[in-house]
């Protein structure tokens, strides 16, 4: 790929988002030929905000975020559309340019903290290494910054713990270390892919609070990916709901729970266990695989509101549904959906 030179957007525009994805498509080369797994995804992450990307497994969340950080294998993937990180276009950019972006402008933490850390190096060394590589700090400076970071992410006795190995840390502590590594070079955007999923609820709560505090302090924008609807409302500003490779609803977090505008969102909310009710409302059927996405609305085989024709004939666009809320439902104007909060 050639390194297309793109003028970065004027950095002084306060409303210029840190991440802006427009009409993103990702296709994978598989034994069945090219298969589209992310289809027409658009989302924005303004500076200093937290945006959730929520959806069931296989809906395309991870692939979307890997595209945003330029980590998809180039030989078996085809990426089209636009991904602008701090104003710079990443689609079509060279791998050298992408790796310069990583670590400096954007960093990522994953679900399995233990697997992301190298077991043979001390946790302190792994943080210091990032600082030396990206910031060009010398050993002493890198070490003291690393200790500072460990302390900042809530590792008690950071000076002594600098020399600890990952196996000496619990899952929650490993995730804090990952956060320290990710934030060491003060990226503008942090992508957290299921970063709290493997943690106990009490530890998860601490992590969410920590990310909130670090955002206050560093102004970092966060794209937080989860399949768990229950953590969506925690310290979050905007939610994108994904289903079968598409964003189907995009809204401020309170409106998601008060006034969902997509039947899938309504169904997810109704499936949350509620001790006031003795039965759960289940969405019938299963999530379709990318190779068997229905034509028209992808949710139509499972949707109570589906109508032959309007829902099943052509691709459904993501459209405004009052205010800044967006929905990908052809019938959103005629149907009334229920939220969970009065």
């Amino acid at each position: 790929m050639t390194d297309v030179l793109v003028e970065p957007e004027v950095a002084s525009d306060p409303l210029a988002p840190v991440l802006k994805i427009e009409c993103l498509n990702v296709d994978f080369h598989t034994i069945d030929g090219w298969v589209r797994v992310v289809d027409d995804v658009s989302l924005v992450v303004p500076a200093g905000t937290t945006v959730r990307l929520v959806g069931e497994s296989g809906s395309g969340k991870t692939v979307t975020s890997l595209a945003a950080i330029g980590l998809l294998p180039p030989d078996t993937t085809r990426v089209t559309g636009s991904i602008r990180l701090a104003g710079e276009e990443l689609v079509g950019a060279s791998s050298a340019r992408l790796s310069r972006r990583r670590g400096r402008d954007v960093a990522m933490v994953f679900q399995e903290p233990r697997r992301s850390l190298d077991p043979v190096f001390t946790v302190g060394y792994q943080i210091a290494e990032v600082l030396r590589r990206h910031e060009g700090l010398d050993r002493r400076a890198a070490r003291s910054r690393a200790v500072e970071m460990l302390d900042r992410v809530g590792i008690a006795d950071a000076e002594r713990r600098f020399g600890a190995y990952p196996h000496e840390f619990s899952g929650g502590m490993c995730q804090r270390v990952m956060l320290a590594i990710a934030l060491a070079c003060r990226p503008r955007l942090l992508i957290a892919d299921e970063a709290t999923t493997a943690l106990d609820v009490t530890v998860q709560k601490e992590m969410l609070a920590l990310m909130n505090d670090l955002q206050d302090e560093l102004g970092v924008a966060i794209l937080f990916i989860t399949h768990d609807l229950s953590v969506v409302a925690e310290t979050c500003d905007w939610v994108n709901v994904m289903y079968a490779g598409q964003v189907v609803e995009s809204t401020a977090v309170d409106r998601l729970f008060h006034e969902p505008r997509h039947p899938y969102t309504e169904g997810l909310l109704a499936a949350i266990p509620d001790p006031q009710r003795r039965r759960l409302q289940a969405i019938p059927g299963v999530v379709p695989a990318p190779t068997s996405w229905p034509t028209g609305c992808r949710f139509s085989p499972r949707c109570d509101y589906a109508r032959e024709g309007v829902c099943t004939s052509g691709a459904i666009p993501l459209e405004p549904a009052g205010g800044a809320q967006l929905t990908r439902c052809a019938r959103h104007a005629e149907i009334e959906l229920k939220g969970v909060l009065a």
Partner: protein, 288 residues
């Protein structure tokens, strides 16, 4: 009526292997003095952090793991006194559903064979009766007849978990240990499986030991809740007692960490910030 299942003073520790110098490490105690009971038709929920010992307790109850000390009695019979043959007979009445539906079924067995197996093991039904029972069970869990000759790889997680439930029901048990039965499933599918468990309980008066790390789930479907931490039950009670008035500090921490669907901070979304906009350039839009 006496409770269906009583666990009394269960202990379990595991040897830690040897240290670098060949000295035996002290055994790690993973369950200590755990006692509870489950009534007929009742669900006892067990919640707690990772490694708290929940699964170990579930397995000890069925004697899939032998307790170091303590007793489990089922319908008045002390399981530890049973001969292997009588234990096998007792197993017909108590069974287990595991977390990972992808690994709990033999990949080489068709759906029919998978549900037939426990029938062969625990009943003396003839071939035709067995076939009828297989069909009845699969229909009950919402699988179709044309699924009968398919293999596990052709099913989704939620379907596999329903098949696992059909297998568990085959021998017509009274009691099922459900160890994180929906943890591996997507939210929209979880509800299907949970509703099935609730309906079956109503129909057959089943008792469940329901193990989960998900408090809102346990709160939803358990009649009583036991909270475990570091091998010990720190608190037991009705969901109301445990969730609205937790007594133990660990329970309090756990309850206060339950995520709520209510936004927890003032939105930082810039006022008037342009949302991503309609998804396709107007020219590409379909005409309605």
């Amino acid at each position: 009526m006496s409770p269906l299942l009583v666990a009394n003073g269960l202990h379990k520790s595991y040897p830690q292997g040897r240290s670098l110098w060949g000295r035996a490490r002290p055994a790690q105690s993973v369950v200590r003095d755990v006692s509870f009971h489950v009534d007929r038709g009742e669900t006892l929920g067990i919640v707690g952090e990772t490694g708290a010992g929940k699964s170990t307790v579930g397995r000890m109850v069925l004697r899939l793991v032998e307790a170091d000390s303590g007793h489990v009695s089922f319908d008045g019979t002390d399981l530890s006194t049973l001969s292997p043959a009588s234990l096998r007979r007792m197993r017909q009445r108590m069974t287990m559903i595991f977390q990972d539906p992808f690994n709990s079924l033999d990949p080489r067995m068709t759906l029919r064979a998978a549900v037939r197996e426990p029938l062969t093991l625990h009943t003396s039904l003839g071939g035709a009766e067995k076939e009828a029972r297989v069909r009845e069970l699969l229909e009950r869990v919402g699988m179709r007849q044309d699924h009968l000759d398919r293999y596990p790889r052709e099913f989704s997680g939620g379907q596999l978990q329903r098949i696992a439930i059909a297998r568990a029901l085959a021998a017509d048990p009274d009691f099922i240990v459900c160890d994180e039965p929906v943890a591996a499933l997507d939210l929209s599918i979880q509800a299907q499986v949970l509703n099935l468990l609730l309906d079956l309980q109503q129909e057959r008066g089943l008792s469940y030991l329901f193990i989960s790390h998900d408090l809102s789930l346990v709160r939803f479907l358990a009649h009583r809740v036991a909270v475990m931490s570091q091998g010990v039950i720190v608190e037991q009670g009705t969901p109301e007692e445990v969730f609205t008035d937790p007594k133990h500090p660990y329970t309090r921490a756990l309850v206060s960490a339950i995520p709520t669907p209510r936004p927890t901070r003032v939105s930082r979304w810039p006022a008037g910030f342009p949302a991503p906009g309609p998804s396709r350039p107007a020219t590409e839009r379909r005409s309605r």
